[in-house]
Structure formats: structure tokens, C-alpha cells
């Protein structure tokens, strides 16, 4: 396992930097002058309401969209990405929300899909060893790598998808809603996994709607609102601050609800 030497963030070079990245779809500005830095061994959470541009940003970093303006710097060098394979070559791996696993294939086949060893006489043994090594590094609890993915739980599938993204030794890994469909225990497993990726010195970008999960693992929380940066917070930030940044106002649906609840409590208290 690779562990990064502890050094102040400012002294290190960011792995990935976005400088004033914009993306337009016709008249719609999906992203406007986005800045984002990801350092090695750091978890950056990307939060924002629906339509804030999170997915567009992920797709831009993954090479699926070309930015309309702005620069993407990887390890200090400006890069041009013309497709997902370019991003993979640079070392940017993405785990999509739907995981994109083949349920009819076993774990080994899924991890090595498209990257099989010796294409004309598959080297099953070496593939199985690598699969176990990857899964053990993630402290994954997969009973048998020869089981088809259909027989695995949600958390185990997430693990397989992450193990697959680690196969090509990426430097940055993006997780799109990794805990969205998971139960309590599986969510905890995935969060442990994120921490282990961080310990290995990878930069992690995690998208989530769940503030609890975000606070549990993130070093910094970057908020997007209507396609623009709306502040970068530390995990010490209060919920009000975060929600304010996400929704764009201190007076919002969430705060109104809390106020209403507080009021009814107060009224109940007064009447007693």
C-alpha cells in the first residue's frame, strides 16, 4: 500500500486542477467557470442540488464531455481529453452510479472486462490472483470471486466496481453516488473503502446527496449551485451553512421546515 507523507496541503501540488472550466449545451450553461483542486490522499465531496451540474462535471473530468472553455490540469500539466479512454490513460477512473457490471459474469471476469490477460488463451489463474489482491487491499468481503455478480449484495457489487477501477492503477477515482442504493452496513463498508483509497494516496472525488456520509469521509466539501462554484467547506461547517450554499439561501425549504418544527415545539412548551 502506498501512503502519502503527511505534509501541509498548500505545499503540495494538486493532482487535478480545474481552472475556470465551463461547459455549454447550446444556450444552456451547465458549468460556468468551475475551479476545483484535488490533492493526493484527499477526499473531496461534491455536493449540490439536482441540476447543479455535478454529473456534467464528473463527465467532463472523465473525458466524456469536452469543456467549452477553461483548463484541466493533471499533475500540473494542462491536458486535452478526447474520450473516456484518455482519462483512463491519465489515471482518472470513474465508478458510475449504476456500476456497469455484467451480472452474468463472475467477479474476476467483471474486474478484467476489456482488460483480459492473454486474449487468445485467457490467463484465468493470474487474473484470479490479481482480483484477490485488489479485493484484499480493499479489505473486501467477497466470498468467492468465481460467483456471478448477480449473487452479490449491493455493497459487494460496489466493491467489485471500485476494485475494477483500481485495476489500471489510477491516481484519481471518482465515485458517483456510491452509497445511494445501499443499506446501513453496506454504506459503512463503502465509506471504509473510501478511507482506504485515501490511505493509498489516491485523490477521491465523491458525489453524494447524503450529508452524513459526506461528513464521515470528506476532507473538503465543494458545493455546486446552478453550474457555479458556491464555496468550499471543511467538515466543520454547520449543516445550515452547507444547506444554505446548496440551495442558495438561508431561507429555504429545509430551514423553513426546521423553523416550523421548532415553532410547534415552542408553542407546545408554552401551552403546558
Amino acid at each position: 500500500m502506498v501512503t502519502q507523507e503527511a505534509s501541509p496541503l498548500a505545499a503540495r501540488q494538486p493532482l487535478l486542477s480545474l481552472r475556470k472550466v465551463s461547459k455549454h449545451f447550446g444556450a444552456v450553461a451547465a458549468l460556468t467557470e468551475i475551479d476545483l483542486d484535488v490533492y493526493p490522499g484527499e477526499v473531496v465531496a461534491l455536493v449540490g442540488d439536482n441540476g447543479a451540474g455535478k454529473s456534467t462535471l464528473v463527465k467532463t473530468i472523465a473525458g466524456a464531455h469536452r469543456p467549452s472553455a477553461g483548463d484541466i490540469l493533471f499533475a500540473g500539466q494542462p491536458v486535452e481529453m478526447n474520450g473516456p479512454s484518455d482519462a483512463l490513460e491519465l489515471g482518472i477512473a470513474t465508478v458510475f452510479q449504476d456500476l456497469a457490471l455484467c451480472e452474468n459474469l463472475d467477479v474476476v471476469a467483471n474486474i478484467f472486462l476489456g482488460q483480459e490477460l492473454s486474449p487468445f488463451h485467457l490467463n484465468e489463474i493470474d487474473m484470479e490472483v490479481t482480483a484477490w489482491t485488489l479485493l484484499n487491499e480493499l479489505a473486501a468481503r467477497i466470498p468467492n470471486v468465481r460467483d456471478v455478480v448477480a449473487s452479490l449484495s449491493g455493497g459487494q457489487r460496489q466493491t467489485v466496481a471500485i476494485a475494477r477501477s483500481l485495476l489500471l492503477n489510477p491516481k484519481i477515482i471518482m465515485l458517483d453516488e456510491p452509497t445511494a442504493a445501499l443499506g446501513v452496513a453496506q454504506t459503512a463498508e463503502v465509506l471504509n473503502l473510501v478511507e482506504r483509497l485515501k490511505d493509498r494516496g489516491l485523490g477521491v472525488i465523491m458525489i453524494s446527496h447524503n450529508m452524513q456520509d459526506v461528513r464521515a469521509v470528506a476532507d473538503r466539501i465543494a458545493v455546486l449551485r446552478l453550474g457555479r462554484n458556491n464555496g468550499v467547506f471543511t467538515v466543520d461547517a454547520t449543516n445550515e451553512e452547507l444547506i444554505g450554499a446548496i440551495t442558495g439561501a438561508t431561507d429555504n425549504a429545509v430551514s423553513r421546515r426546521e423553523k416550523r418544527l421548532a415553532d410547534t415545539k415552542q408553542v407546545a412548551g408554552n401551552s403546558q
Binding site: 456497469a100 457490471l101 455484467c102 472486462l113 482488460q115 490472483v129 484477490w132 468467492n144 449473487s151
Partner: protein, 419 residues
């Protein structure tokens, strides 16, 4: 002998045996038990078709003992080869969840091309066969183009192809409607007479077991070298031994009559080749992946279009080869070639053999096993002097049963979390 060696390596030291919740089968008895569990949970594999085959053969033998005579079985093998090769192509498209309804007409075109080019135009046989196969490949290319470029369901494009190819077949054969292949030619004797020499058939019967044993031992050693669990030596040895005994007995029995037809030998070679390609190459892995989840395959960097092209081309080419073989079997290329039940027999064979209609599940063996079932029914009913009306109805019933078994097994797999 081997179980001692297995116990010397403690389970925890193995890379894939660190999870204590899972039970693993290493010895012979445990392997048999694991197999029973697998079947119970709906992972049937080729079991239903083998049980069905035993049942069908028993019934026909009781009614008419001639069915099981060596001579009749040799005929059965001749008949299996032509449609079997077509079914092999069907396995490829079914694997992707697609279908080719035009294989019958395609085989008809194959036989017509052979007749026209060889008998009428006087081209050498290999060239005529080559042109036939190219026509098949071209047709497959068209289907794949329509599927990948226009998103046209293969059900529709091949239905259109069925009519177009049937028309082309009639056009090729012209007003005479049928071209006889000369008796005594190598093609016709290949289809009707040529038998693998006795000594060679025994040698060939020994090869699979030997290869299996050598590969099994090598895999076992390699796995032990990298700290992976390995099968016990007994398991590695028993399976090939049983297979060899079975093959030698079958070949010996067939040799009491004429022996094993070359045509069937070619068919089995193709089955083995496709089986290797599907299970041991990246192409095969991609076929399963695209059949299971095309979008996931695309994101993994697999060229999905190329996989579609390969499957459709392979299917149509094998269909023409089946047509060429059928022409040599019947010693003629006629308007009837490839019509009637060829289409459905080929598709039914693949499904009865255990290839799923929904894609992502199947094997090359299903073509072999399925076609033996279908031809056994046809052959047995012919021996009973039943008209083709009964044959169609019974084949239809067997197909229905096969699909029901497949669906039930699928439900059982789902409920056991093994879909």
C-alpha cells in the same frame, strides 16, 4: 492420496479461502455434493437435456429396439451434423440476445450456390464452397449493419432476410428447381458414406480425456504455486477417466456398424472450436458481456458493434456451411432445401440444449446436445412410421418443455441469488 496433500495446506493460507463463511468442495465426494446443491438451486447446466435424452432414447428403444442399433445411430449422427452446424451459429446470436430467423433460407442459398457453381458452372468444389461461405458472411454483415447502424431488431431484419434469401434461392435454381450432385463425387460420399477409420476413431476418443487430464494437472499445479485452492488429484483424474470410458464405449458400439461419420467429426470439431473461443478467449468473454449488459460492456471499452458483427457473420456463415453439408447429404440442391422445419429445428436445438433466449447464457455444447434430442425424436418417429404431422407436434411439445424447464430454473436461480 491427494486428500492428504490438501489437508497439509491449511485453508487460511490460501488466497481464495480466507472467508470462513463459505464452504468449498475439494474432494471427490464434496464435489459431487456441491454439484447436487448447484442443481437444487436451479443451476442446471446440461442436466435437463441429458435426462431428456435418456428418457427419449429409453421410450423409443422400448417401442422399437431398432432405434438403438448401431446402424440407426450412425444414421442419426449423419442427420445431426447438418442442422447441428446451423444450430451452432444460432448459439452465437442467442448469446447476444439476438435471433436469426433466416438460417433455413441461408442454408438453402448455400446449397443452391454449391449446386449452381459446382455442377452447372463447373467450378472446383473448394471454390464453390468458399463462395457460398462468403455469401453467408456478407448476409451476416448486412444484419449486423442493420442492427448496429439503424438499431433494427434482428427479429425483423432476419425475417425480411428469410424472404429475400428464399427468393434468391429460387432464382439461383431457376426453372428446373433442383440440381442433382453427381453420385460418386467426393462431396456426396462425404455426406453419405465417409467414415472415420476404426483406429483413428479410437485414437480420437482417447484425445479429449488425455487433454483434459493434462490440462487439469497443469492448472492444479499452477493454482497451488500461487496459493489458490486447487481441485484434489482424484477429482482431476476421475472426470477424464469417465469421459474416456464413455467415448471409447460409444465409438466401439458405432464401429460395430459403419463407424463414426466424418461429417459428424467435422461438426464436433466446430463445436470444440466454438467452445474454446467462447470460454477461453477475450472474444468469448466479450460475447457473454455484451449479451449480459451491453452498456456495461461498452463502458469497459469493448467494441460492442464489432461483437455484433462477429456473431451475425458467424451465424450466417455456419448456416451456409450447414446448407452445403445438407446438399451433400441429400446429393441435391433443391427448392425444398432449408425450408420447412430447418429454421425452427436449428433454433429449437440451441434452446433445448440450454442456451438462453435472453442472452448472456449458453454454450457451444447446447447445439450438439439439442440437435441430438431433436434428431432422435425425428428418427424415432420415422421408425414408428408416424407421419410428419405427429413429428412436428411432438417436437413442439419437447421445445415447450425445454423452455419451461429453462424458465423454472431461471426463477430458482433468482430465488437462490444466482441469476
Amino acid at each position: 492420496m491427494s486428500s492428504v496433500a490438501d489437508k497439509q495446506t491449511t485453508p487460511s493460507s490460501l488466497l481464495d479461502r480466507s472467508d470462513v463463511r463459505v464452504t468449498h468442495a475439494s474432494g471427490l465426494v464434496e464435489t459431487v455434493n456441491a454439484f447436487k446443491d448447484r442443481v437444487r438451486s436451479g443451476d442446471l447446466g446440461s442436466l435437463p437435456v441429458i435426462v431428456g435424452l435418456v428418457l427419449i432414447w429409453s421410450i423409443f428403444t422400448i417401442i422399437n429396439p431398432v432405434f438403438l442399433s448401431a446402424n440407426n445411430l450412425v444414421n442419426l449422427l449423419f442427420d445431426c451434423s447438418t442442422v447441428g452446424i446451423i444450430a451452432l451459429g444460432i448459439v452465437c446470436v442467442l448469446m447476444l440476445g439476438e435471433i436469426d430467423l433466416s438460417v433455413g433460407s441461408m442454408s438453402g442459398v448455400g446449397s443452391a450456390l454449391l449446386g449452381v457453381l459446382w455442377v452447372k458452372q463447373g467450378l472446383p468444389v473448394p471454390l464453390a464452397i468458399g463462395i457460398s461461405l462468403c455469401a453467408g458472411a456478407l448476409t451476416g454483415l448486412c444484419y449486423a449493419y442493420m442492427r448496429t447502424r439503424f438499431g433494427m431488431p434482428s427479429f425483423v431484419s432476419t425475417l425480411a432476410g428469410l424472404l429475400a434469401l428464399l427468393g434468391f434461392q429460387l432464382f439461383l435454381l431457376g426453372s428446373t428447381g433442383s440440381i442433382n450432385l453427381p453420385y460418386g463425387s467426393s462431396m456426396v460420399s462425404f455426406g453419405q458414406l465417409l467414415i472415420i477409420p476404426t483406429w483413428l476413431s479410437y485414437v480420437l476418443a482417447l484425445v479429449p480425456g488425455l487433454v483434459m487430464m493434462v490440462m487439469g494437472i497443469r492448472v492444479r499445479q499452477k493454482r497451488m504455486a500461487v496459493r489458490l485452492s486447487a481441485k484434489s488429484m482424484t477429482t482431476v483424474l476421475v472426470k477424464p477417466l469417465l469421459l474416456t470410458v464413455l467415448l471409447v464405449v460409444v465409438v466401439g458400439y458405432l464401429n460395430q456398424s459403419r463407424g463414426v461419420p466424418w461429417m459428424f467429426g467435422v461438426f464436433v470439431t466446430l463445436v470444440l472450436g466454438l467452445n474454446y473461443a467462447l470460454t477461453k478467449t477475450r472474444w468469448g468473454r466479450c460475447m457473454f458481456a455484451v449479451g449480459g449488459n451491453a452498456e456495461a460492456a461498452r463502458r469497459a471499452g469493448i467494441n460492442v458493434k464489432r461483437i455484433y458483427v462477429s456473431a451475425f457473420v458467424l451465424c450466417s456463415t455456419l448456416a451456409t456451411l450447414g446448407g452445403v453439408f445438407a446438399a451433400s447429404r441429400l446429393a441435391s440442391a433443391s427448392q425444398q432445401a432449408g425450408t420447412a422445419d430447418v429454421n425452427l429445428n436449428a433454433i429449437a436445438a440451441a434452446v433445448i440444449g440450454g442456451t438462453s433466449l435472453f442472452g448472456g447464457r449458453g454454450s457451444a455444447w447446447s447445439a450438439l446436445l439439442g440437435i441430438i434430442v431433436i434428431q432422435s425424436i425425428a428418427n424415432g418417429l420415422t421408425l414408428l412410421n408416424l407421419p410428419s404431422a405427429h413429428r412436428y407436434m411432438i417436437t413442439g411439445a419437447v421445445l415447450a418443455i425445454a423452455v419451461i424447464v429453462d424458465s423454472l430454473a431461471r426463477q430458482s436461480r433468482l430465488s437462490h441469488g444466482k441469476a
